[in-house]
Symmetry: C2
Subunit: 379 residues, 2 copies
């Protein structure tokens, strides 16, 4: 029995979106699902109980960050990441690859791996498929990610081709280095940028290695939304129906819907938690910047259509006061609300798939936010 | 029926400490009690549910800070402080006097009140008995404090005498200005520094005004602990038995015990929450600085003798990691623990009074921490 199993429940007749369930050693969760990001073994400002309460069954944590602080050996000694952070739900760890490419300016990509500098101390470091597997095996997440190269957007076809080929070779090395296939599932990452032939090649290479799930990488790295959708249009059909599909780094409401329509099952992004710490909330009326002066005497909840703990108990005026005064509790309240908003959105997406009306739901949602207009602001 | 009522349950035969109950419009609480400080309408990092869970029935909030941010008018418009911050337990607000004297360098004390500068913006401000009452009536706490002068330590007898007399005149003006005696109780503040004759004079003046409770002010302002205890020794006997007694600004475990022994019922201090945000914890083995390197692989709880939520679920290693990485959740965990520690200590103090053995309890506690030794470090 593999550590990770994907169960397809039904396909939306209107869009082809998938309603499914992913089974992990720490329970199962329905898909499409959004995964809150807990970079340093904590979803910033939140307690595990709060994540449970809002309906998060799986969270993501970052291999690169935990490798540097506190060190994967300490997490392993604690009994693994679940025990270390007191989270008994599912966890996915990335491979560290994205951070190496996005956080480090000085990097040297070789066939054996990547030499780069620690973004905190400047110390020289080396990450490779084997090292990324070793760290992730020590952390012990339910789902691990293969170590890949995530090229910037745009990249030339020539560069992307050699990068995709290296990522395939690295994926094979990851599979070989993986020490705990019985209780940790390793997902491969399809790269190839905006090039259909390269996505096809990447998918073919990785599928031949038979991973229990596949991520679509290299999107949400600066390309326009229509490029992302076009890439998904030709990439998800390449993937097997009986494996989970994960679109990395995506968390804006419109892209969650558009990704689901194109057959994606899992998403993650720091967007909801990051903007929350700046006092920005996702609401059924679009973004609300709670520190604005106009909310000083606004005693309505952040979102009048929201039934989350924050909206049931606290006013815009109170949250504005806390955020302006830089009080932690304000950021707890906005973070809770934003994560709840996205988890609830995914619940609505799943319900719409059940009712074969995800296309209609998309229209209603985009209409409500004016996202269909030309030059519409991002959500 | 007065807004605030003190009920004496019993007196410790060994020490004279009082076990009692204070009744407020938002419930009642047993005394001696420690009140967590929620300066800006939030006990830093904590949610109201967490304060309830740890056994806090009353919290303190700061008039001066709320006056400046968000402004007492906004809190009033929200329906008062309880509703604004979603706290249905009791609240005590100070008068703003202490902050005027401790936060502002440029102050000019006149008979009508104090002219000073806003510690954030530098703007000129004026606080008087009438203004302090107006703000506190707008905030709507269960217990309000009279506007007093809190002279520095040491102060000359001459200065202190004229200050005490002004504080008495101000107390009378506070009583007159108080608009909501039916649902907010106003406490007088006994001043007089270390001078017995002045404490006597201050107590006599204030008791003649018949407040529903009396605070002992001007202590914990830099004087040695034995001075504090000596002042309490001659001050609490001056106070009526049927009114609550509140020692302002005291929160170190030894002083909570020594104050209780001298007949004090209520205490407040930022100490537990402030040191928590620096990663310092109060434990049954004394202070524990969790960011120390020696805790990196220490998977025991902060305090092995503690049954709080933090200690039941998280290790020193995890909390150290969070605190070192400046993660909010780390400060939530240390804050929760420290407040729980003091609330639990007060529960032990009350139990010892019930059993007429608070003197023995003090000996055991001081022995455990080496507080009886000459040159003992502060807890």
């Amino acid at each position: 029995m593999p550590a990770i199993r994907y169960e397809l429940i039904k396909t939306c007749k209107q869009t082809g979106a998938r309603l499914g369930r992913v089974h992990t050693p720490h329970g199962s969760f329905e898909t499409p699902m959004f995964m809150p990001v807990g970079t340093l073994a904590t979803v910033k400002t939140m307690a595990p109980e709060e994540l449970k309460q809002m309906g998060a069954d799986i969270i993501l944590s970052n291999t690169y960050h935990l490798w540097l602080r506190p060190g994967e050996d300490i997490v392993e000694e604690a009994g693994g990441l679940h025990k270390f952070m007191n989270w008994d739900g599912s966890i996915l760890t990335d491979s560290g690859g994205f951070q190496v490419f996005s956080l480090s300016d000085l990097r040297d990509i070789k066939e054996e791996g990547v030499h780069f500098r620690n973004h905190i101390s400047g110390e020289k470091l080396f990450l490779s498929p084997e090292k990324a597997m070793h760290i992730q095996n020590s952390l012990g997440a339910d789902i691990m990610m293969a170590f890949d190269e995530c090229p910037p957007y745009p990249a030339s076809h020539e560069y992307m081709k050699s990068s995709v080929e290296r990522t395939s070779r690295w994926a094979e090395r990851c599979l070989e280095a993986h020490q705990r296939p019985h209780d940790q599932g390793l997902f491969g990452i399809i790269q190839g940028g905006e090039y259909e032939d390269l996505r096809r090649q990447s998918a073919k290479d990785l599928i031949s290695l038979d991973f229990p799930g596949y991520a679509i990488g290299g999107l949400s790295v600066g390309e326009p939304k229509d490029v992302m959708n076009r890439v998904l249009d030709f990439t998800t059909p390449l993937l097997p129906n009986d494996k989970a599909r994960y679109l990395m780094g995506v968390g804006s409401p419109d892209s969650l819907i558009d990704g689901s329509i194109r057959g994606v099952d899992m998403f993650d992004c720091v967007l909801p938690t990051r903007i929350a710490r700046n006092g920005t909330c996702m609401t059924s009326q679009g973004r609300l910047v709670v520190r604005n002066a106009k909310f000083a005497r606004d005693f309505r909840p952040i979102d009048e259509n929201c039934d989350c703990h924050t909206c049931r108990n606290y006013s815009r005026a109170y949250i504005r006061h806390l955020v302006k005064a830089n009080e932690t509790f304000g950021f707890r309240l906005t973070t809770y609300h934003n994560l709840y908003f996205l988890l609830k959105l995914m619940e609505q997406v799943r319900q719409a798939i059940r009712e074969d009306r995800l296309g209609d739901f998309r229209e209603e949602f985009f209409e409500q936010y004016g996202l269909n207009k030309p030059n519409a602001k991002n959500f």
